[in-house]
C-alpha cells in the first residue's frame, strides 16, 4: 500500500479546499440559512407539525442531505476533473498508486469535506431551530456513508465529463430535483398514493428518510431499508469506479 501516495493526494485536495474556503463552506452555509429563514421561520411558523415535529426541525435532515449530496458530487467531480483538464493527471497515472489508492485520496478528501460541511450546517441550523438527535451514531453513519457514496458518484462524473457543462449538469438536472422531491420539505405519506409509489423510485427518499429517523425516530420507509439502499448505492458506485479503472475509461488512452 502506497500510504504516502494516498496522503499526498488527500492533502493536496484538502489544501484545495482551504484555498477555496469561501466557496466550499460559506456558500452552502448561506444558502442553507436562507432555507431556514424562508421555510423554517417564515413559512414554517404557519405550517402544522409533521409527525409531531415542528416544521423547522422537520426539514433539517433533508437540507443537510441536499448540501451533502451537492457538495460531495461537486468536490469529487472537480477534484478529478481539474487534473484531467489541466493535464496534471499524467503524474497520478504514472505514479505507483493503485486505483484503490487514487480513490482513497480523491474520494476520501471529497467525503471528508462534505462531512465537515454537513456538521457545519447542522450547527448553523441550531441557530434557527431547536432539534435533538435521537440516534447520534446512526446520524453520523448516514452522514459518512452518504458523503462517501456521492463522492464516488461525483468521481465518476468527473471522469465522464469532458467539459465544464457536463460537470454541472448532473447535480443540477438530476440531483436537485431528486432531493426536492425526495421528502426534504414534506413527508412522503402526505402525497397522493400514486406519487408515493413513484417516490419510492427516488433513491434520495431512502437517504432522507433514514437520516430523519436518526434525528427523530420517525421515517417514511423502514430504517433498515434505508441502510440497505444506501449500501446498495455505495456498492453500485464502487463497481462503477472499479470498471473505470479496469478499462482505463477516459483516463488512459
Amino acid at each position: 500500500m502506497n500510504l504516502y501516495g494516498v496522503r499526498a493526494i488527500y492533502n493536496f485536495e484538502m489544501a484545495r479546499m482551504r484555498r477555496t474556503l469561501m466557496q466550499s463552506v460559506a456558500s452552502p452555509v448561506i444558502s442553507t440559512s436562507l432555507y431556514f429563514v424562508v421555510f423554517g421561520s417564515a413559512i414554517g411558523s404557519r405550517m402544522g407539525d409533521i409527525n409531531n415535529i415542528s416544521y423547522g426541525a422537520f426539514i433539517i435532515p433533508g437540507l443537510v442531505m441536499l448540501s451533502l449530496l451537492m457538495q460531495s458530487i461537486s468536490n469529487a467531480s472537480f477534484g478529478i476533473y481539474m487534473p484531467k483538464f489541466s493535464g496534471t493527471i499524467y503524474e497520478v497515472l504514472s505514479a505507483p498508486v493503485s486505483y484503490v489508492e487514487v480513490v482513497l485520496g480523491y474520494v476520501g478528501a471529497a467525503a471528508t469535506k462534505s462531512v465537515i460541511l454537513g456538521v457545519i450546517i447542522l450547527l448553523t441550523a441550531r441557530l434557527f431551530v431547536d432539534y435533538d438527535v435521537l440516534h447520534p451514531f446512526w446520524m453520523f453513519a448516514f452522514l459518512v456513508l452518504t458523503a462517501i457514496t456521492f463522492s464516488l458518484f461525483g468521481f465518476i462524473i468527473g471522469i465522464w465529463a469532458d467539459g465544464f457543462e457536463k460537470l454541472q449538469i448532473i447535480p443540477l438536472m438530476i440531483v436537485t430535483p431528486l432531493v426536492f422531491l425526495g421528502g426534504t420539505f414534506y413527508s412522503i405519506d402526505m402525497l397522493p398514493e400514486v406519487w408515493q409509489t413513484v417516490s419510492l423510485f427516488n433513491p434520495v427518499v431512502y437517504l432522507i428518510s433514514g437520516f430523519r429517523w436518526a434525528f427523530y425516530g420517525v421515517s417514511d420507509v423502514h430504517v433498515g431499508i434505508s441502510v440497505g439502499m444506501t449500501l446498495l448505492f455505495l456498492t453500485a458506485c464502487m463497481v462503477g469506479v472499479w470498471w473505470i479503472f479496469k478499462t482505463g475509461y477516459r483516463l488512459r488512452s
Binding site: A15, L93, S94, R252
Partner: protein, 337 residues
C-alpha cells in the same frame, strides 16, 4: 556516392547491425539486464490509429538514449506507455527489470517523467508541488533532497512562490524537479528543450550529464538533432511508429556518415579534369576548391587514388580538409527515405 545509394545501404544493413548488437549483449555484457526492455510493442489508439508497430528496444542502465524522430512519429506514445499513462495494445515492457503491467508499482517507482507539455497546478507552491510528487511516488518526506533538487535547478529562491507566477522556463525546471523528487533510476525527458532558451538548454544538458554520472538512465526524445548529437550515447530513430535504427552515436556517425574532402587549389580550375570524371568530385564556383564526397565506411583507397591522379595532373593544392556529415544530414536522409 549519392544519397540514395547511402540509404539503400543503410536500410539493408540496419537489421544486421541490430542482430550484431544483440549478439554482443549475450556474449560480453554481464548479466546486467537492460533498464528498459520493450518487446514486440504495438499501440493502436481507440480511433484505430496504429501509433507503434512492433517496437523492440533495450536501453542499458546508465546510458543516455536519444529517441529521434519527426513530429507524430510515436515518441510520446512510447514514453507514455512505458510510464503507465497509456495502455499497451500488445507486447511487453519492463522497466528496471519489472513488468510495467504486472509489477507496475516497482516499475513506476523507478521512473521519473518530464512530459512534453507543461502541466502544472497554478495555485500550488513550488515546494508543495515537488513534495507532492515525492509522496505520490511512495517516498517518505525528505526535505533535504527536495532542497538539493530545487537548488540544482535554480528554483530554491522560488520555493514559496505559486506556480502561476513562474516563467515558462522555470515551469519547465519545476517539471524536472518533480520528476527527480523521488530519486528515480530512470528519467524520461520528452522534448525537454522544445521552446527553451539557450541558457536553460545548456543548464539542462549539464544536469543530464550530472545525473548520468550518478548512474541514472536517461531517455530523451527530441527532434533537434544537435541535442541528440551533443548528449546521447546511443540513438534510436523512430519514424511512423517504427524504430528504424538503433546505434551508438559514434558508430552511427562513422558508419552512416559521409565524409567530404576539400582540396584548396593553388590555381583555379575551369572544369573538372577528364581523368576525374568518374569520381564523385565537384568543383566550387570560383574553381579554387575540389570537393570529393565519399562514404566513410569505404576503404580510403578512393582518396589515395584521387590524390595520385591530381599529382599526375600536376594540380597543386595548399590545404586539405575533411568533414564528417552531421547527424542532421544522416537523420534527414533516414526519415525522408
Amino acid at each position: 556516392m549519392g544519397i540514395i545509394a547511402a540509404e539503400a545501404k543503410l536500410s539493408k544493413s540496419a537489421p544486421v547491425v541490430r542482430k550484431y548488437r544483440a549478439l554482443i549483449h549475450h556474449q560480453q555484457d554481464k548479466p546486467v539486464q537492460p533498464d528498459i526492455s520493450v518487446k514486440h510493442l504495438n499501440k493502436v489508439y481507440a480511433d484505430g490509429f496504429r501509433a507503434l508497430k512492433d517496437i523492440n528496444l533495450d536501453i542499458e542502465r546508465g546510458e543516455i538514449f536519444a529517441l529521434l524522430g519527426p513530429n507524430g512519429a510515436g515518441k510520446t506514445t512510447l514514453i507514455s506507455i512505458i510510464c503507465g499513462i497509456a495502455n499497451i495494445s500488445s507486447g511487453e515492457v519492463k522497466a528496471a527489470g519489472y513488468d510495467i503491467v504486472k509489477d507496475y508499482r516497482k516499475a513506476r517507482e523507478s521512473i521519473g517523467l518530464v512530459p512534453q507539455e507543461l502541466h502544472t497546478d497554478s495555485f500550488e507552491t513550488v515546494w508543495g508541488a515537488v513534495s507532492f510528487s515525492r509522496g505520490l511516488f511512495g517516498k517518505p518526506p525528505a526535505p533535504e533532497h527536495i532542497e538539493k533538487v530545487l537548488k540544482d535547478l535554480s528554483l530554491w529562491d522560488k520555493r514559496n512562490s505559486r506556480i502561476m507566477s513562474l516563467s515558462g522556463g522555470m515551469k519547465r525546471r519545476l517539471m524536472i524537479a518533480k520528476a527527480l523528487s523521488h530519486e528515480p533510476q530512470i528519467l524520461f525527458l520528452d522534448e525537454p528543450t522544445a521552446g527553451v532558451d539557450v541558457e536553460l538548454r545548456r543548464d539542462m544538458w549539464e544536469m543530464v550529464r550530472k545525473l548520468r554520472e550518478n548512474g541514472v538512465t536517461i531517455i530523451l526524445t527530441t527532434h533537434y538533432i544537435e541535442e541528440a548529437e551533443e548528449m546521447a550515447d546511443r540513438i534510436g530513430v523512430i519514424r511512423q511508429g517504427e524504430i528504424i535504427l538503433v546505434e551508438d552515436k559514434a558508430q552511427l556517425m562513422s558508419k552512416l556518415g559521409k565524409k567530404e574532402l576539400r582540396l584548396h587549389l593553388q590555381q583555379p580550375l575551369e572544369t573538372i579534369p577528364g581523368q576525374l570524371a568518374l569520381e564523385p568530385v565537384e568543383l566550387s564556383k570560383d574553381g579554387y576548391e575540389l570537393i570529393y564526397t565519399f562514404d566513410s565506411q569505404q576503404e580510403q583507397a578512393g582518396v589515395a587514388r584521387l590524390l595520385r591522379t591530381l599529382g599526375d595532373l600536376d594540380i597543386e593544392y595548399r590545404d586539405i580538409q575533411t568533414r564528417e556529415s552531421s547527424l542532421e544530414e544522416i537523420f534527414v536522409g533516414l526519415v525522408n527515405e
